[in-house]
């Protein structure tokens, strides 16, 4: 691919890449840095690309690596955030009675697969992830999007595996709640 046209195609992807990087890193400067680094790496490696896969998939693959590098560079800050978050206790009292029984029924989401074909759904999903507390979002995205296993997350963030399971649980509970309110609860356009 010619350098000029590649640059143009990369620019077109910038908003998507920035949104993903922000969601994962929860820091504006870091997000812009990793996207710039991704572009540099993509332009340098453009010969390797040679159109064998979709440009977006290839660039997102580079972005993942750059995000991981960013976490390593700022390990101290990221892990102290995570340790603070891990110390939070959240019991979801509004959902469960004292004996652990669930009080309100989760809504029937119907056929949620259908939502996956709608772009607005991903805007809502992104908004819900952005609403999570910083470290919950980072841990959740590391697990679900970067596909780390929990041992790797613990190692990167200096938290125990119990902390990690609890944080993932809290993230899923909050995210589920938000999706139900903002999308599945009839708020869908």
């Amino acid at each position: 691919m010619e350098a000029g046209s590649l640059e143009g195609s990369l620019e077109a992807l910038r908003p998507t890449l920035l949104a993903i990087a922000r969601m994962q890193l929860r820091n504006e400067t870091w997000a812009e840095d990793v996207v710039s680094e991704t572009f540099v790496a993509a332009l340098e490696g453009s010969r390797k690309f040679a159109g064998q896969s979709q440009l977006k998939t290839w660039v997102v693959g580079i972005l993942k690596h750059k995000i991981i590098d960013q976490f390593r560079r700022t390990k101290r800050e990221v892990s102290s955030d995570a340790q603070l978050e891990a110390a939070q206790v959240e019991t979801f009292d509004e959902l469960f009675a004292a004996d652990g029984h669930r009080l309100n029924t989760p809504l029937d989401w119907g056929d949620p697969e259908e939502s996956l074909s709608r772009t607005q759904f991903f805007d809502v999903l992104q908004m819900c992830i952005d609403k999570l507390p910083t470290s919950l979002a980072r841990v959740f995205m590391m697990r679900e999007w970067l596909d780390y296993d929990t041992d790797e997350i613990c190692k990167e963030l200096g938290i125990t595996s119990t902390n990690c399971f609890v944080m993932l649980f809290r993230a899923r509970m909050r995210l589920r709640e938000c999706l139900e309110m903002q999308w599945f609860g009839g708020a869908a356009p």
Binding site: L95, F96, P112, F165, L168, F169, M173
Partner: protein
């Protein structure tokens, strides 16, 4: 479920060692996405899901969220 099975089931559910509350089932459903859960946990969770629509719904919803998040950037 047959009548006998129903009676047996009610009896079993009265046994505290086998019964887990929804709050515990929710936690196990989340954790089993991140670690292999122990046979005892798996068994209790399975029994709980047989009778609890709320937790079964929760299970499908968090599975769906995983699928959805993996689509970012695709």
């Amino acid at each position: 479920m047959s009548r006998d099975a129903m009676v047996w089931w009610r009896r079993a559910m009265r046994l505290s060692w086998i019964r887990i509350p929804c709050s515990h089932a929710h936690r196990l459903l989340s954790e089993r996405m991140d670690r292999p859960i122990k046979p005892g946990e798996r068994w209790r969770l399975w029994l709980h899901l047989l009778v609890c629509d709320m937790c079964s719904r929760f299970e499908r919803q968090i599975d769906f969220m995983r699928t959805a998040v993996r689509r970012f950037g695709q």
